[in-house]
Subunit: 214 residues, 4 copies
DNA sequence: GATGAATGAGCTTTCATTCAT
DNA sequence: TATGAATGAAAGCTCATTCAT
């Protein structure tokens, strides 16, 4: 999601950029941004958006506060850039699943969906914090929520092309929320209880998908 | 509700204990506490816990900041008192449903559950914000989450006493999260889309309950 | 030092007061004031003037903040009343010593002085806190410091009437500070070290007094 | 005096450690810290620790409140840094006196000691306020008090190496308090009275030292 | 470009004092 | 009279953001 970052001098032609004398500087900047976003992800995940501080993010990435502001104009910007980056990864996973969806049995589709979301949130614990943060959602956040719905709908459509699109459109948000539940169960329960509940959740989803998608 | 206001234990030093606010002893104080909590509910719902300010809460209730601190030691305390008050109301609704559960057809139970939660959250929009706020949950919050699970399990048990308790125990958190989803749908969608999605969600729940509770 | 308290209706004739219907009320007020001042003494001694709170003083005496302000107009007033009360006690002890001074051997006078001050400060630990508090001293405080000097001088004069008054006048503040040192040693040292140092201090004082008073 | 500024240990979470102010790394910061401590010394001396305000200290040094907190975490910290700085100066003076002590006649030692303390306190009027402030002493404060005793003892030992060390150990706190008295006389008296009393105090000390150190 | 320093509005909280019942 | 409630100025402190080197 480099497009969400304001790094000037981004060249369209990589060969061009490599030859330019400013290439090393640009490369260093890229690394800095990566490190800063990684640090931001950790801090946001640990404390939430409001309690996270710009100073803390800079410290976590062993940079100075000045460096942080060199790349991001506000704390909002940091969060948006981070979500943008994570969303790219999520789209990849969901699009990958969409391609495999037609080859799966319906109950397995439910399992695959759950795995997909649970793994993603495990890899990006700050994602939920940022996307579900209180207050009116930014356009990016609204877009993410809509994008998830659309992609879930696309997965369903790929798996069951014969089903009425209107039905799939209504199903998508339900499936989306079941995915969220699958993730959140992991925060509420543990051990055997978690295992049992997760099995129930998948059973519920599988039953639902079978009843609707045949 | 006075039980939700911190009544300090006997401190070693009465001069220190004096700093701790006490439950109101006069009618005026009762009214003030009611007003403060109502104001806090509005502000928390609108901005979330972190972005809410004590000054804002006091202003919303047309009290002085000093009055707010007369009855609540910290912002934390305000949130806990508010959650405590709301939880009492939630327990009443759930216990009421438990009493009616045996008389309902299984699909109607799903509907009744959804209505119960959706109505409650509509009446108390700050509840979700406070209960799901980031950071490690306080004992009260953990207790609330556990309490919901237990009461959902009790409702299921009342409705289907013949079912293995272990099964109900695994089902409860799943149903709990479906309830949460029912609420959250209202934040994501609107109009016809919301209606269709809600119907799907209830269908999923009804199918699940029927399959498990017979 | 009841004269420093603003208790209206103070009658000059006790018989008269006893006969009056308001006697019980007055008696209750007296008790209240005693209790409040005792509480204030504890709190001031424990935390110092600034860190002590009116609420804390009221709580310590199991009264309400309103009661406290019924008898004292400000926190300053409480401190002044307390010092006034304690100073009365100090004057009694010093005047008593002045009467015995002529009968004592000079080294014993030093010991008696030290005992007098150490005992007094042990009985009234808030006295030092209030009298030595930073900032410009109030007239009362200045008066106390002067009064101690005068009384020490009077003790010396009673013990050694033949000595030039000018000399005694110069000695008094020195003796006064040795007394203060005797008290403060108890805060710095303990056990055998304290004992040894206290013996040295008395030796120094005795030597000094003998050299000056013969 | 960077040693007096808190250098935080490696915290588990760098994002949290970031909140801790660091010693200045730039010349500008050094100057600012000097100015802040000088301002703090003035304000503490004038009002005492409790009544001094961080806002007042910042204003006195013509800095913003933010700059003050850039270098000091709390008001406590400011006081400790200031005392640390002053104590370094005191140690220098006392160690210098220790080196000269063997060359002085015993009565002159008393005078030199008095001059040393009186001058130091005149140069650093906030020192007494901070070191003798009510409440339980911090480790630094306790260390200062102990350090003074030890250095006084060292001075005595340097002057009179033949005297039993145990005796010197008992004398040190007494001499320490006489020094304090020498300083405090200046707050109680003035003009001719002060002069006379100071002469008496030195006489007492000289007599004491001669009697003990021969 | 990188970094530490500077800024100040605004936050939570305290407390002496006054009111009202 | 006795007491809890009310008030608000002011304190300590934080932190997003901007500056200057």
């Amino acid at each position: 999601m480099s497009s969400t970052l304001s790094i000037p001098g981004e060249s369209a032609d990589p060969a061009d950029a490599a030859a330019a004398p400013r290439a090393p500087r640009r490369a260093r900047g890229q690394l800095r941004v990566e490190a800063l976003l990684a640090a931001a992800a950790e801090v946001f995940a640990a404390k939430g958006f409001d309690a996270a501080t710009m100073t803390g993010i800079a410290a976590q990435s062993e940079s100075s506060i000045g460096s942080l502001y060199q790349f991001f104009r506000t704390k909002e910007d940091v969060a948006e850039a981070l979500v943008g980056q994570q969303v790219d990864a999520l789209w990849q996973r969901l699009d990958g699943l969409a391609r495999r969806a037609s080859a799966l049995a319906t109950p397995d589709l439910g399992h695959a969906l759950a795995v997909c979301f649970v793994d993603f949130r495990a890899d990006h614990p700050s994602f939920a914090t940022l996307v579900e943060r209180p207050g009116p959602p930014s356009p990016l956040i609204s877009g993410v929520r809509r994008g998830v719905r659309e992609r879930v709908e696309a997965i369903l459509a790929s798996h069951a092309p014969q089903v009425d699109r209107r039905t799939l459109h209504a199903m998508a948000p339900v499936v989306q929320h079941v995915m969220k539940s699958a993730v959140q169960l992991r925060g509420d329960l543990e051990g055997a209880e978690l295992k049992a509940a997760a099995r129930e959740l998948e059973a519920m989803l599988a039953g639902y998908l079978v009843s609707r998608l045949g």
